[in-house]
Symmetry: C2
């Protein structure tokens, strides 16, 4: 079956706001084997909404409206859909009573504009909103001789998700022909997309029954596999077989097989082996520490670190000899090495990381251009250091440098 | 005039990718006084694209297609629009020659599928692509008796922007009735949206000719003003007058009047006064340092900092006495104060910041729940410390804590 998503709200037509609800809904629909064929964004405009509803009912089997169910004059989804489908709106006394009760409980005044949130399309089932006032609505039946499912859902993301999970998923499962879909995700860091594709394309192209998607961004590559079969076991076996062959080809380059982030993998490996980490950052300015500590419980393996922007602090916090900086410059293989070794010693951690480079856009020279970064990892077995020339802007260079450090830690631990 | 944007590409209908080009186009159109009424996302599907083109030509004056102009079988925008509008596609020999030349220069083979990038709609003006292969196309004229402007633009964001700026803006300016629009943006940090609105609504509601929008997110509130008048001077005067009254009401709470970020304002104030900064972070884990160093040139005022996750490092890097931690706990007013004072002393900076708290989701207790954060700022005039209970998840709490620190620095400097 095919679906169409219509996001409602004039604010979604400005440069400042964007529909993101549809990404969530799309994921849930895909899991059921439903493909999204169209997405539209329509303002708080009754005629425009009615036209969108009409078009969607003609071309899509499942139609999901998101937003425009609130109490204000701008909230017009109910009225527009009623007009487009030739349905009446009936005020539901039970819902009205519940709305009044909800307002009274919170000590809010129940103003008349709130009453329209109890207006239900004549053939619709109201869907209770577990975390907000406006209920959703579900219509399922023939429209111009075609089977159609229409949902009206609230726009605030937490209301949409709670209502969709509580009320829509099981209803959809009962209507959508049962699907057996298996998926796998493999992730790699710091490999060029073209190189990955050149190695894996000959493998996945032989699996015409598995849909393969390559996503690349911020130094990470993801391979998504998806297979639909008569039985779940059959679908699982196919993606498993393909993923296995790709793993044989790429080996250790794959850091995640179950959707984990590289921060999670590094966390897992450090904890499993009872090891600790400390970092000394110059050009990444705290980004590496921030990424590592983005996980709850990171204090079990992350001791801390130093952001050593000035040369004085490189010496004071990471034991980098002033003479070394004078001789090789702050951005050098030698200083990165000394930072990694120094911070490890200072923090008494199993591993130490040192990062120094030119994040730009200013500060580059002919010898040391913007994008040049040295990343060092020091451990019991000694210190390794890599030199990289990252492309892109300041944010991009800092993201790549921190990811390179995480990848070096991961490889040292496997 | 009103516009409609159609983003083309099946990948934009997955949970993994989202159209962002339309935000850029919307901003540019709004600057010209053109409102975006509809946005749609359509897959690489000829019939669907043709239907979208038909609908758009009926309801919108300016129609912008983005994507689907490449050389592959999936790139169908040209063909679909030709079908919908009843136009022919003609292969342009000049464009074809340039494409072949471009490929030859780079040593790439010019495969036959690339030829269709030279196919131009019979009434269209080709728009040279300054940074890619596929040219854009511009049609302007009557359609069913109505004046219409139709643009086909490439999908990759850098190509879209370069082509739109080089070729479309001046053509649009010549077609769109001249508009005189003035805008202003005021920004505030760490104030509840409802409180801001309660104070400013009585003021902006009196300016019915100025459109006021309140945007809130990540602890920041933005007030956007927009006014359209017969002359630029008149429009400027109106937004200036309104912004002035709001500034009188909110005073120092406003940190930005020209769109600057709070990091930029703090940077500007520190540099203007020749002062320096160092930070000691526990629960924010490097986020504050990362935000400060996200600006190029931050080494002029940011010396560095310490991410002191473990108690040992709080003592070692920020001079926090072990006895103080034992007595009050790591998350306490006293330890935040000692961190700010200690890091300032260690780094010999004008200001020192200390942050300690419970970012969660684990680690909270009844006395020290998730969200409790102490933020201290130490300077020549002594040390101030605030206690906050931030709502939300780990990311939210860390973002709020780092913003609170930036706001405290800013207030100390004004």
């Amino acid at each position: 079956m095919n679906a169409e998503i219509i996001a409602v709200g004039s604010e979604l037509l400005t440069p400042h706001r964007q529909d993101t609800n549809s990404l969530y809904i799309t994921e849930k629909l895909n899991d059921l084997g439903v493909e999204v064929r169209y997405k539209s964004i329509v303002g708080d405009d009754r005629a425009g909404l009615a036209a969108a509803a009409n078009l969607a009912m003609r071309r899509s089997e499942i139609i999901i409206f998101m937003g425009g169910l609130g109490p204000t004059e701008d909230d017009l989804t109910r009225e527009a859909v009623a007009e487009a489908l030739g349905l009446k709106l009936n005020r539901d006394p039970g819902i009205l009573a519940k709305l009044e009760e909800r307002f009274a409980k919170r000590g809010f005044k129940f103003t008349p504009n709130n009453m329209k949130q109890a207006d239900i399309l004549s053939s619709a089932t109201p869907l209770p909103n577990p975390v907000g006032t406006a209920p959703g609505q579900w219509i399922s039946g023939k429209y111009d001789g075609q089977e159609r499912i229409l949902m009206l859902l609230p726009g605030p993301p937490h209301e949409l998700k709670a209502l969709f999970e509580a009320e829509c998923l099981s209803r959809l499962r009962a209507k959508v022909p049962p699907q057996h879909i298996a998926t796998r995700v493999l992730k790699m860091a710091m490999m060029p997309e073209s190189q990955v594709d050149a190695r894996v394309a000959p493998i996945y192209k032989a699996y015409t029954d598995v849909e393969t998607t390559i996503l690349a961004g911020a130094g990470e590559i993801q391979l998504h596999f998806r297979c639909r079969k008569e039985s779940q076991a059959e679908a699982e076996a196919r993606v498993e077989e393909l993923a296995g062959k790709i793993e044989d080809e790429l080996g250790d380059a794959i850091f995640s097989r179950k959707g984990e982030s590289i921060e999670q993998i590094v966390s897992y490996l450090l904890q499993m082996r009872g090891l600790t980490l400390a970092v000394a950052e110059s050009c990444t300015g705290g980004l590496l520490a921030e990424r590592i500590t983005s996980l709850s419980g990171s204090s079990r393996y992350f001791l801390g670190g130093a952001v050593v922007y000035s040369n004085e602090l490189k010496s004071q916090f990471a034991n980098v000899p002033k003479a070394l900086i004078d001789k090789h410059g702050a951005v050098s293989r030698e200083v990165a090495t000394a930072m990694a070794e120094g911070i490890r010693k200072r923090c008494l951690s199993s591993y130490g990381v040192g990062i120094t480079g030119v994040a730009g856009p200013t500060g580059g020279t002919e010898q040391k251009p913007v994008g040049l970064v040295y990343i060092a990892l020091s451990g019991d077995d000694g210190t390794q250091v890599v030199e990289r020339n990252f492309p892109g802007d300041r944010k991009h260079i800092r993201t790549f440098a921190s990811l390179q450090a995480l990848e070096m830690i991961r490889r040292a631990l496997i």
